[in-house]
Amino acid sequence: MDYVIEMIDITKEFPGIKANDQVNFKLKKQEIHALLGENGAGKSTLMSVLFGLYQADEGHIKVRGQEVDIRNPNDANDLNIGMVHQHFKLVHNFTVTENIILGSEDTKYGMLTYQNARQKIKELSDRYKLKVNPDAKIEDISVGQQQRVEILKMLYRQAEILIFDEPTASLTPQEIEELMKILKGLTKEGKSIVLITHKLNEIRQVADRCTILRKGKSINTVVVKDTTNEQLAEMMVGRKVVFELEKTKAKPKDTVLQVKNLSIKQKEGSKLLVKNVSFKAKRGEILCIAGIEGNGQTELVYGLTGMMPIQEGSILLKDNDITGLSIRNRSLTGLSHIPEDRQRHGLVLDFTLENNLILQNYFTSKFHHRGFLKFEAIRENAERLIDQFDIRSSRGPISLARSMSGGNQQKLILGREIDRNNDLLIAVQPTRGLDVGAIEFIHQQLIDQRDQGKAVLLVSLELDEVMNISDRILVMYEGELVGELDPSKIDEKELGLYMAGSKRGEIS
């Protein structure tokens, strides 16, 4: 059997860390090959080396048996290698077509022409079932559609080897289902695919083989159907992973958060995104807001935390009316928040780890004295939290947040928010893009918070997460709460019906 890609003994070092250490990776023609590993294991780095974004310090690459030197994405392009990155690389105010042709435009008398491109895009999108409107602006289309644009970009450049870096991290379950079909379709047409993902069931669903990386080293390459999920997880983390969480029954106590008739209007326009929502969150329970993306959950949280003005209604936190308070005063009243978009709202990416850890309380006497920061206290705080929450980085407290892997950025925020010891913890999609080990860790932390008598408000799109760790579920559909469910009494299917709006229930 010949390989289309062979990466042999690849080593890539960043300041303070070997992101890839003698890694071996071989891709067969027409297979879907999964790349599995903890956050920071070096998956994105390895694929960036293949795509020419980074140069390996050691090792060599063969493409279709030929030894090659890939110095930049252009070289990769010439070798018919394409990549969809973890964070999409699209120009937000260009149209779909413009994004696809950028860098390989057709011209007539020096002027851009779109006819050929449009024709070609149409053919590709028919053939691979990638439906998009070629004239829509990127900022106006959904994340799922943006991803299709990324795939079309590669196909337009005749890519034969397609790399997907965590393509499902920000898709809805329906979009994931479609993407899986698209991937299968692509291999049928002769393409070979590398799929980076943390979701074992996706690997099981589409991948033929799987290579496991751990701390920069390649551990093993296995045939997926001969391996169990437990075995995969164990190779990846280096120890046994518990899939079922230890969780006792909740003992809800007094109310911490009370939301009354909350409505929130669109930023521009008059549409209500949150309609007359009322609920209570109690100490000692994990209350989950479930729903399909874009049904008002994001705005509801923005309203609660003060990131967006509300139209009507009131918010009580431990009997204090916080409706009119600023973000800081809400947080001081007793609200912790793990935001949905960790890079935009959770971190200052160009600050160090230790400074990111004090963003919420640098102004307290703990960290400053007469207008000057207490560096020692800040360092100690960082060291304590790094230890407690197992935050891994290349240079400890002084690592830049930007250089950390997604999972560790998330642990940083989690540590900061939990450590403030507030009575209410709002966690929005806390495990997006994380490896199974980190997910397990974060779930355990949320349950611990509950058991310590905090109220946890979890907003999640993932059905497994909703079913496994919540004590009570509120389903949100088109801005309204349409059902209150007990996870022990329903199954995923029924929850799905509520989320799709085809079933409604009573809210107490």
Binding site: F51, N72, P73, K89, G103, E105, T107
Partner: protein, 323 residues
Amino acid sequence: MIELMNQLNFAFPYIIRAMALLSIVALGGLFSERSGVVNIALEGIMIMGAFAGAWTMIIVMNNMNIPLQWNAFIGLSVGAITGMVFSLFHAFAAIHMKSNQIISATALNFFAPAFAIFTARSVTGDRALNVRLDYAISEVPILSNIPILGPWLFTNAYLSTYLAVIIFIVAYIVLYKTPFGLRLRSCGENPHAADSLGVNIYKIRYAGVMISGALAGLGGVMFVLSFSTRFDGAVAGFGFLALAVLISGQWKPIRLILIAFLFALFRVISEIPDELVGIRNLNLPQEIWRMLPFIATLVILAITSKGSAAPRAVGEPFDAGKR
């Protein structure tokens, strides 16, 4: 009514001149900023262009016997080339050295007037370079006789104004209809996207800054030709005003022209209030009129910058490793 018409006929050529100058320089800024490099050095580059252009025109005038407009054309070309070369300092600092773009541009702004005055004085013994001659085209055959438009656009006009129109059309086409324009705009919004598709960010940004240098340098000579007939080390803040035009115009060429017109209008009202009867009758002190363009700048900026659509990556040095 006739009185009003006369006054408009009188004021309009001034407005057109200021507008042409502002739009060309702002257009220069647009090329730089939409490629991702902030360029507040427009003023300094204009001064260098004006200096080189004025000097060249004086030398040519003294030594050669060529038609006036040819001399103007030579002056404008030399100004453009000088501006382009001078802007390379900013390009190198901002793009290759990844330095702070505001600082390297400010350095150019400080350097240019000092250098120009020093050199002018060493050469002529005087602070200023006198171009002296009037380069206005008093009338264009046939076209000047068109009612309304004739007196407004084709009397007392300058070669540079017509040049500006052509440049503007070409620039618009380049920006929106050519691969280069598409790539340039992508570099200012999301250079990582462009980079992953094999676009050379460095080349494009150099090109953007150099075009801005050429246009600003050209603008400097336009200023000398149509506003002062002498060069004394300054361009009356037109470079900074052009920046305001660029921002108020939301980095879009067509809006930029409209805003340039507004700014030019206020500028002219402030410059020649005595000639405009209606305004003279208001009996306000001179200073009020002089302040007008700057107050207008503040107000227009305050109103228009709200929905500001600056290129997303403007001012950020490109770093391929950044995630």
